[in-house]
Subunit: 151 residues, 2 copies
Amino acid sequence: MSGKKAAEEEIAAVRRFNRFYTRELGILRRTFFDTPWTLGEVRVLYEIKHGASTARDIARALNVDAAYLSRLLSKLVKEGLVARKASAHDGRQYELSLTARGRAAYDRADERQAAQTQSVLARMPAGARKELVDAMARIETLMRTRGEEKR
Amino acid sequence: MSGKKAAEEEIAAVRRFNRFYTRELGILRRTFFDTPWTLGEVRVLYEIKHGASTARDIARALNVDAAYLSRLLSKLVKEGLVARKASAHDGRQYELSLTARGRAAYDRADERQAAQTQSVLARMPAGARKELVDAMARIETLMRTRGEEKR
DNA sequence: GCATTTAGATGACTAAGTCAAGTATATGGG
DNA sequence: CCCATATACTTGACTTAGTCATCTAAATGC
């Protein structure tokens, strides 16, 4: 009889966390309000910087819609942050890369966000910070494992 | 010398988790795509159901803009899910409550989301589920404490 | 009683995300 | 080699989410 109960409590706990973190990430988004870039743009720059070389790679990594991504990329190209050149092996694709401007833009956004995160962590005692980091890593590992199984 | 290094690693770890969870919550949002309600609407219904009786209460609980909330509430009132009656002690406010329809709508959305969460948890071994729930609770406690200090 | 806050509404806008349909290229049989 | 099908990306049209400035009206604090 307590099996069902426990499962319900687990479900409730996960949903509570999701509600909580939805709010946290809402706050986080405002980090970008005093830079000229949006969260979406920075996420794309991040993926290109970290190895994504086609729109397809980015769409998979970020789990975003191809239409949305196509527009984000066009904007970034127009702004001169990303370079797009025809792929050698696949005529449908482009090879994406950051321009010097793109790297600089990413670095500034990156610093801005690091500073923001730092200011949150700075208010916590070292022990709490470590616990936080550990708990986050734990969640990621557990949920990623679940994800792999799906494939 | 390792003090600085450790801080940087912590910052990186927290940001990694934020990126990860941004994606997770993106997936979660789609839960509502086969109900007639949006995440925003369900969040508001949730708050009213759990004690919020004015727009002000909801805005604080969800950390959303008053303008956005005002529109969400109008929509919910128009749809007959929320009742708004003038407050007795403050002429600027309304007393909010769920209508029968509102309660039913909330319950359906709630079940839908619980089922979704359940199906994720069901794929994990019991031990992992417990770890996940513990880690989530830990993060919430640590971050809430940080939040209180700010006030 | 008047200046200041606070609650909420409204207009105008940007960002984020979705869906359907279209173009062009790739690819795996038959 | 040809064709069906799948994949990569684009475009149009739309919804949802969120922000900012401004406004009205009521509350509150000297």
